[in-house]
């Protein structure tokens, strides 16, 4: 494992002295990694970023950068680039002046400054618009300027707070790839905030899932998706169908769960006791649809189909009323799926995960 570059140790933050928006946070940010903070609105993502940037100080705990505490270093002394959600481009400066600003404050000579600004703007594909004012640019172009401005002074760390939130879907997809490529190329450490799980999975080296000011899981995207460590993460990332039941047998990593819909084999997310109440999560793409007479884990009646271009999302309802989402390939003309038909649903045991549930 790489040495931690930035470390948060026991960091808590409260704005009003009553509610802790960030709670006893321990987080290591590695050199050159792309770390995404993912979580629902109000989970404290922006607060963590503002503490890293130095706009807010932690109520308790300490932030270290390269081993040195920085909680009381002012923002301008931190060498951290920030891309704000609304970009915060200076409206009275041109694109070139905006991007040149961090160099200007660092006293970089005019000629050197112009060259670096030019190179940076070329890198983000904006060379033609240097003399324009931010108000004369499209949202995507403004985004690129903000990016160039946050990168041009070779910061140790770049913070981005939902930088793609204001862009349309297609542009957002493109910018995700471009930002990721740029980050690799420049070898810069990025902490990225989003509440879009797709974005987090596409861009990150590691994803930290937050809820109520606490890290729920921090892991590479594949692991977050495939091996969520608790029910919140499983629910928040990707689509999930849930079965509530009681553990009736334990076989190594796996357990058998008795649910009203039938017996389900599942991998235990944490060590479980026999008789424990659990929720079993299954992803739509792991479920196979079989004919009504074929043996299957559970059975359900097709209730709804949603056409999504390259595939269908089916909603089935089991006898006891649990809704199950199933991802299915587009059906051939010969055997269309009919609403009201009964199907069997089956999956491999290791695709189902059982989470302990409070009784």
């Amino acid at each position: 494992m790489t040495e931690a570059f930035v470390s948060l140790r026991g960091v808590s933050k409260s704005y009003d002295g009553l509610v802790r928006v960030v709670e006893q946070l321990d987080l290591d940010i590695r050199q050159k990694e792309f770390l995404t903070l993912l979580g629902p609105s109000g989970s404290g993502k922006t607060t963590i970023l503002t503490m890293l940037a130095g706009f807010e100080t932690p109520s308790s705990g300490e932030i270290y950068m390269s081993g040195k505490p920085i909680s009381h270093v002012p923002p301008h002394g931190r060498n951290i680039g920030v891309v704000f959600q609304n970009y915060a481009l200076f409206p009275h400066l041109t694109v070139a002046q905006n991007v040149g600003f961090p160099l200007e404050v660092r006293g970089v000579a005019q000629s050197e400054r112009e060259k670096r600004v030019r190179d940076m703007l070329e890198m983000v594909g904006l060379s033609q618009h240097v003399a324009r004012y931010p108000a004369q640019l499209s949202g995507g172009q403004q985004q690129r300027v903000a990016l160039a401005r946050a990168l041009v002074f070779h910061p140790d760390l770049v913070l981005m707070d939902e930088p793609l939130g204001a862009l349309d879907n297609a542009l957002r997809k493109r910018m995700q790839i471009e930002i990721k490529a740029l980050q690799r190329r420049l070898g810069v450490t990025v902490v990225f905030v989003t509440h879009d799980q797709g974005e987090a999975l596409v861009m990150s080296d590691r994803v930290a899932v937050f809820d109520k000011g606490r890290i729920q899981q921090i892991a590479p995207p594949q692991e977050i998706y495939a091996r969520p460590s608790n029910a919140f993460v499983a629910e928040f990332i990707g689509e999930t169908s849930w079965f509530l039941g009681e553990v009736s047998a334990i076989e190594g990593e796996e357990c058998v769960v008795d649910t009203p819909a039938g017996k389900i084999r599942a991998r235990a997310a944490s060590p479980l006791q026999q008789g424990a109440l659990v929720r079993v999560a299954v992803r739509p793409e792991d479920i196979n649809l079989v004919g009504p007479d074929t043996p299957a884990t559970v059975r359900g009646v097709l209730e709804d189909t949603t056409y999504l271009g390259d595939h269908l999302m089916l909603t089935l309802r089991t006898a006891i009323g649990t809704a199950v989402s199933v991802k299915a390939p587009k059906p051939g003309q010969s055997n269309p799926l009919r609403v009201g038909e009964e199907f069997g649903l089956s999956w491999e045991a290791h695709h189902a995960v059982a989470f302990a549930e409070e009784r």
Partner: protein
């Protein structure tokens, strides 16, 4: 099928909506201002006293000796004027062109009143002036319905009696340019002091919570809701020689003699600043409210120290408010009358004082108009400068 043409085009509707305002502007702004401009070059005084004489003089081409009709009009109008004791006004005005005309007119007026049937020859024989063609020409010029004399004297200039060339008036009569300079100086001082007070204040106010902000705004606005007359009078009470301020300072032994706070420049400026502060404050405040914190934060995260971030990022974005607030205050200051009249000494009066003086004391509308016109021109010039520069500032908002 063609849709029926709407009763009014979209443009027509807009014009219709703006019509009441346009009418209002026409009736209460453009027409009064226009008549003001005309007043400044019009000379209605003599025409009102001697309408026939004016008509006949203007009908005459001014060459050689005047026809009899002019002489008869002189006789009749002067007789009528003498009856109302107004012939002296004509004589005084004529004397400005030629001193010899004054006794000649007074004599002619008395003689005509005594004998309304005086013959042309008898009139001409009353005084050698009437046999001098050049004097008649001068009288004709005196009766010109339009004149630049008021405009010129508002600029401390006049036409030389003999050469008709524009020359400076004697230094002891030159008051207007000095007053204009004083008006500009006082307005500038008030504007600058207001800016120095309002900018930091607005900066503090926008950084308060909503409750505190509302409270602070109320305090700033409080003077706004009291009449200028009342406030100027209140300052008089506070600042006069044995007023609250002087008495307090003296009882605290900070000063031994009362300070001259009223009937002085400083008292005038103090009271004007107090009145103008909300006008400067509000535009700055509203612009500051629209500048989000994130700009300064961004600047700091990019490495700018707080003061640099303020100077390079925050200040330029608030300049449109500064420009608007200062313009408003400066232009309003140019027109101040009551406050300098109450709190200023004789040497602290601004241009408006002379407008009022000519209207109320001298009843010389033309002179009042000429001074007011000067004020209007200065205001327009300043506004034009503002309009030239502020689009440059506004451009940033796209």
């Amino acid at each position: 099928m063609a849709t029926p043409a709407p009763f009014l085009s979209a443009r027509g509707k807009l014009v219709l909506l703006a019509l009441p305002m346009l009418l209002f502007m026409l009736l209460f702004f453009f027409i009064p201002v226009g008549s003001l401009l005309v007043r400044a070059v019009q000379d209605p005084e003599l025409g009102a006293i001697a309408p026939n004489l004016q008509r006949e003089l203007r009908a005459w081409d001014g060459q050689g000796t005047p026809p009899d009709s002019v002489v008869l009009a002189l006789r009749d109008d002067l007789a009528a004027a003498q009856k109302d004791r107004r012939a002296a006004i004509v004589a005084k005005r004529a004397a400005e062109a030629d001193p010899k005309l004054r006794p000649a007119i007074m004599d002619a007026a008395k003689a005509s009143l005594a004998d309304p049937q005086l013959s042309v020859q008898a009139v001409l024989n009353l005084d050698p002036v009437w046999r001098d063609a050049a004097c008649w020409t001068r009288l004709r010029d005196v009766f010109a319905p339009f004149t630049d004399r008021y405009l010129l004297s508002a600029l401390d200039l006049k036409r030389d009696r003999d050469t008709q060339e524009i020359v400076k008036v004697a230094p002891d009569q030159a008051i207007f340019l000095a007053t204009l300079q004083r008006t500009l100086g006082v307005s500038l001082a008030v504007t600058l002091i207001c800016l120095l007070l309002a900018y930091p204040l607005a900066y503090v106010v926008v950084r308060q919570g909503p409750v505190m902000q509302a409270l602070m705004l109320t305090f700033v606005m409080l003077p706004f809701w009291t009449s200028i007359l009342v406030r100027s009078a209140a300052w008089l009470v506070l600042l006069q020689t044995h007023g609250v301020v002087n008495e307090t300072l003296m009882s605290l032994s900070i000063i031994s003699e009362p300070l001259k706070l009223v009937y002085s420049r400083s008292g005038t400026i103090l009271a004007m600043v107090h009145i103008q502060l909300p006008f400067t404050f509000l535009p700055i405040y509203s612009v500051m409210k629209s500048v989000p914190d994130s700009y300064v934060r961004a600047a700091q995260s990019l490495g700018a120290k707080p003061f640099y971030a303020f100077r390079r990022i925050y200040l330029p974005q608030t300049l449109p408010g500064v420009a608007a607030g200062c313009l408003l205050t400066f232009i309003l200051c140019l027109g101040y009358y009551i406050t300098p009249a109450l709190l200023g000494g004789p040497a602290d009066q601004l241009l408006s004082y002379y407008v009022a003086y000519y209207l109320n004391q001298e009843v010389n509308w033309s002179m009042a108009s000429a001074v007011a016109l000067m004020l209007l021109v200065v205001t327009l010039v300043i506004y034009t400068i503002y309009a030239r520069f502020v689009p440059v500032l506004r451009q940033v908002e796209g």
